[in-house]
């Protein structure tokens, strides 16, 4: 009898690994008996095929190690089950201790997840802006005897100098830091105080290309009596969003609406209206200041500019200017 007149070896291996040891002997014996009977009846090839198909039918939970006691070897699953059992018994035995532990872990994990979520959300800002990666805000680091403080606001001359003396810079824009204050707006009979205004350089929309719903960003705020508002504010005053070309009074002065720009939830600035710095007519000599920390200075550098050398160059210049003034 050569090896090929026997049932397929792989089928036997399958049977031997799967079927419970206490059942294996007679199950396999019965299968083999039928196999040899079938070899005589229908030939070897078909008998082997039938044998394999018959074996496959034994791959069901019923035949899988059904009797724990019959199996002499200790299985991995028994050990794991024992661990869980002991863990559960310990938990129920030391209820207060377990409660503190589990509650603490739950609280800690929850806090960790919430913080991660918050941090992740913070990194999602301003990504929608075209060339946003090239826009930087210049911050102010001031060191004296009391220590070092960092401020987001800086003097107006930062931007002026960066724009005129640094060829690496493509565009700059300032926003004046203002306290949240109520400003009276009027249109016809509608009067309302608005709080969220941005006072900006007219280059603002070149640094931050926000999509206009109505109007065009080109030269939108070049004229000092011009204004861009949010769709919500347009609705409040005109019951319509398409209000480009209409007039609105701010502190009794007329402003021409040049655009309607919706707030982007992931833009770091939120506003109801935007007006040019020229509108508030700051004294020219104040705008020459190197110490008046009242502006957020934004810089858009040219493509391919390495920011670190630029930083060092500008820091040296600021130190020189401040040294001269002190």
């Amino acid at each position: 009898m050569n090896a090929h007149s026997q049932p397929p070896r792989w089928a036997d291996l399958l049977l031997e690994t799967f079927v419970a040891p206490d059942l294996l002997e007679d199950v396999q014996g019965d299968l083999h008996e039928v196999f040899y009977k079938r070899v005589a009846e229908v030939g070897l090839a078909r008998a082997r095929r039938e044998y394999a198909l018959a074996v496959v039918r034994y791959l069901r939970p019923f035949f899988l190690n059904r009797k724990q006691s019959a199996s002499s070897s200790i299985k991995q699953s028994d050990m794991v089950r024992s661990y869980f059992k002991i863990a559960f018994r310990n938990i129920t035995r030391h209820k207060a201790y377990s409660f503190v532990n589990i509650a603490g872990l739950t609280l800690g994990l929850t806090a960790c997840l919430l913080i991660s979520l918050f941090v992740w959300d913070e990194t999602r800002y301003d990504l929608f802006l075209t060339d946003g990666a090239r826009v930087f805000r210049v911050y102010n680091e001031h060191t004296d005897a009391q220590g070092t403080i960092e401020m987001a606001v800086a003097p107006p001359m930062y931007t002026t100098t960066l724009q005129t003396e640094f060829p690496e810079v493509e565009k700059t824009a300032r926003i004046m830091m203002t306290a949240q204050h109520k400003t009276l707006f009027e249109s016809g009979n509608t009067k309302s105080y608005e709080e969220n205004g941005l006072f900006i350089d007219s280059t603002f929309f070149e640094v931050f290309p926000l999509p206009f719903r109505y109007g065009s960003p080109v030269k939108a705020l070049d004229d000092r009596a011009s204004i861009v508002i949010s769709p919500e504010m347009a609705q409040r005053f005109f019951h319509s969003e398409d209000v480009v070309g209409k007039q609105i009074l701010m502190n009794k002065q007329p402003y021409l609406i040049k655009g309607v720009v919706p707030n982007h939830p992931k833009f770091h600035l939120q506003f109801d209206y935007i007006i040019p710095l020229a509108a508030i007519q700051l004294p020219a000599e104040r705008m020459q200041s190197w110490r008046w920390n009242q502006f957020y200075n934004y810089v858009k550098v040219k493509k391919g500019v390495d920011i670190q050398p630029l930083e060092r160059k500008f820091q040296a210049l600021v130190k020189e200017k401040n040294g001269a003034l002190c």
Partner: protein, 114 residues
């Protein structure tokens, strides 16, 4: 008293074991079940049923001696237990009671001659 009921297939296997003139084991039972019912049945179904009936206490089994034609593997011989005999009798009683309760002439009405 908790009772184990017999499924249809279990009942057939149990009856085949009972009817077997010689000692009954997997292959003979499998062949007889197919022959008696005319159905094509896998051997694993027969084996699973035999072991289940043994668990329920309707069958007992013991291993025979070593045999040459099965690679030295022993056969497992099955025999009815008292509980198995009782279960078959119970079923038979219920059946005959019900058969007797069928009103005479009813089968003629729906087209079956007696």
């Amino acid at each position: 008293m908790r009772r184990s009921f017999l499924g249809e297939f279990e009942e057939i296997v149990l009856l085949v074991v009972a009817a077997c003139p010689a000692e009954a084991y997997g292959v003979t039972i499998w062949e007889d079940v197919q022959q008696q019912t005319g159905r094509s049945i896998t051997m694993s179904a027969v084996h699973a049923t035999l072991y289940r009936l043994e668990e329920k206490g309707f069958l007992s089994s013991e291993m025979g001696g070593a045999t040459a034609e099965r690679g030295g593997r022993r056969k497992r011989f099955f025999a009815l237990t008292n509980a198995g005999v009782r279960a078959l009798n119970d079923i038979q009683e219920v059946r005959s009671r019900l058969w007797q309760a069928i009103p005479p002439g009813k089968f003629q009405l729906i087209g079956f001659g007696s």
